[in-house]
Symmetry: C2
Subunit: 376 residues, 2 copies
């Protein structure tokens, strides 16, 4: 029970070029210190409706049930899988990295049966494998897949995966934690049934919220479940009473008002820029990174056709120690890059160019820092 001192914490000013969080625009940061307001205040209620409207544009959906969950992206994942599966159900999960694995873990903890479609880490999901697996498992009710695998820097074609899932009468749940705001994602056009994301990546907001959208097919299942969802905090039926747009809004939990102010401001910046312009800005930053790596003689670990612009798996150069290299970037240059995970640990660095960091200034700071690490 002893104190280590009573000094305020002043974090160092880092350039966050890892897998998230990313740096935030000054306007988004400023929104975090607006006056606190009650979560049932009529003014906050209007604000919530406006935020939902903006999230619909970001997700490219008209889904009424589009809302920010008051917890990180992992809770959004758990919400989607927990609400859309009942014990004994079968789900097919596409796995090519950490977040596919995490989906599997969530399926099992929902007492559902998990069948996997596996591809190598660093490769996209092969739609043919999903189709083969669906054919073998007519009992499957749901397919889960990751749009942008944060652990490997690989994008999968979730539009095609969704279309296959629907042919076999399965709903599709999509992890868009790292994709939303940073690359093309069209929830309605692509007929995605449930999609979750995170606030701290390409949206350029602080961590702590998981924007989620569910279509009518998903909601129909949730409303007609034969047993309650095995979570109180993440029960969509209860949350929908809280987030409904009228005066009878029922109390569920206390919304994290400041984090929501920041998300709202981040959405404004994104919509002011235009969603497609933001996608293109992320793509352009990726091209600048490629040019910079070429100058260093460094290379991507992932084939060009499935590389994510916003999260780049870069091979650690020969002669550079993983942990030492990242420590030097942090200590000498105040630049954070991400370590490799799982089978890619020690082999790659994950270089994020997300939200406001998807710009030339990031590359201009990163390039000399990387060059300083290279032997000889």
């Amino acid at each position: 029970m002893h104190n280590q001192g009573l000094s305020s914490y002043h974090p160092p000013e880092r350039l966050l070029l890892g897998p998230g969080p990313t740096n935030m625009d000054a306007r988004v940061l400023a929104a975090l210190s607006r006056p606190v307001i009650g979560h049932l205040d009529p003014s906050f209620q209007e604000f919530m409706e406006d935020l939902k409207t903006k999230l619909r544009v970001v997700f490219q959906t008209n889904n009424a049930m589009t809302l920010p969950i008051s917890a990180p992206g992992s809770a959004g994942m758990e919400l989607c899988l927990r609400n859309l599966l009942s014990p004994g159900d079968t789900a097919i999960i596409c796995v090519n990295g950490v977040f596919g694995q995490r989906m599997c873990e969530n399926v099992r903890r929902a007492d559902a049966v998990c069948i996997t479609v596996e591809d190598d880490w660093g490769r996209p999901i092969d739609p043919q494998k999903l189709e083969d697996t669906l054919r073998k498992h007519p009992e499957a009710r749901l397919v889960g897949c990751v749009h942008a695998e944060t652990s490997t820097g690989v994008g999968s074609d979730v539009r095609t995966l969704a279309s296959i899932a629907h042919q076999y009468d399965c709903m599709i749940v999509v992890d868009a934690v790292t994709s939303l705001g940073g690359m093309e994602l069209r929830v309605d056009d692509w007929e995605l049934d449930a999609v979750y994301s995170g606030s701290q990546k390409c949206l350029g907001c602080t961590p702590g919220l998981s924007p989620v959208t569910l279509n009518e097919r998903a909601l129909h299942y949730i409303r007609n479940r034969s047993e309650p969802v095995r979570s109180w905090f993440l029960d969509v039926n209860l949350l929908s009473g809280y987030w409904q747009p009228d005066q009878r809004r029922s109390y569920h939990h206390t919304a994290p008002v400041h984090t929501l102010f920041a998300l709202h401001e981040a959405c404004i910046l994104l919509l002011n820029e235009g969603l497609e312009n933001a996608w293109e800005r992320h793509a352009a930053a990726h091209r600048m990174l490629k040019a910079a790596l070429d100058r260093c003689g460094m290379e991507f670990a992932v084939a060009a056709e499935c590389r994510l612009p916003q999260l780049n798996a870069v091979r650690i150069p020969d002669g550079v120690n993983d942990a030492e290299g990242r420590a030097r970037l942090l200590q000498d240059f105040n630049i954070e890059v991400g370590a490799g995970l799982g089978v890619l640990a020690g082999k790659i660095w994950r270089v994020g160019l997300m939200g406001p960091n998807a710009c030339r200034a990031s590359i201009d700071r990163l390039l000399p820092a990387l060059q300083s690490l290279l032997p000889g």
Copy 2:
């Protein structure tokens, strides 16, 4: 997908005298807009350890597993009950308001059997009833109770309830959402096995975090569960890997760094003041409120011996309409008070004096506002 406009949201400046959130000290608000940092940064790791140390003082515990959950108090409740119960277990929950009921709902959704000990809303839990129930249910493994019932403004003697629970070899889970920081709570001295709270009440921080503490008895159960916890996001075994104080900290989720900065700053203010001084300040504000209500001819709905200082159930005066009265307080005076819930809806207002609002200035603004509502 249409926008309602791209204006930033500027919340009105309210005096929040409801059940929470409460207003925040300027220092806590300022901490929210410090630079973002990576949740795996060595500097943030030190910060996390320091925050845990401070939370231990606030909880009055030496429990190693004392940490802020990255979600609101309701998630802290779910975490405690979900980790400490396995399907088929029996739990006895003491119910005298909304949050006792919510505990029951969580027990059922953990596939456990819920036995209730019920007292009227507005009355504390009778320890004799708990003992009688424990005698009838030797299969019970866990007792749950609410220290400060936010829905009614009633405090229960959780120290005595814990001692009875232990006599019958049950663990005790305590809801301290509204009590922590605002009234005496001594986790170790009172031998409480698992306690959860919220950031936005007497701690005077922004909403979004649930400080939780678990003792060795609770952790022993969790470590030796025969099946995994039926939640990924709230699994204490996984969280403990994330929050452990060394370099091998394993990634679990992205911590909400800004909200944590604010909680840290709020703890500093509380510890600078001294915990017992803060408890006394809340008690003093309650006495000032009583004097003010006396001047208005208004009265408490709860007997003096079990009134919470920080959350006051006040009878709506004759001739005053519930919703209209609260709307006038909000519109004409920018003061929020809370509505009654459940059987107390329309009968009481809940007047919170929490964190920085537990002071004379709150009463001085509230008194004339209340007087203006009174008929005649």
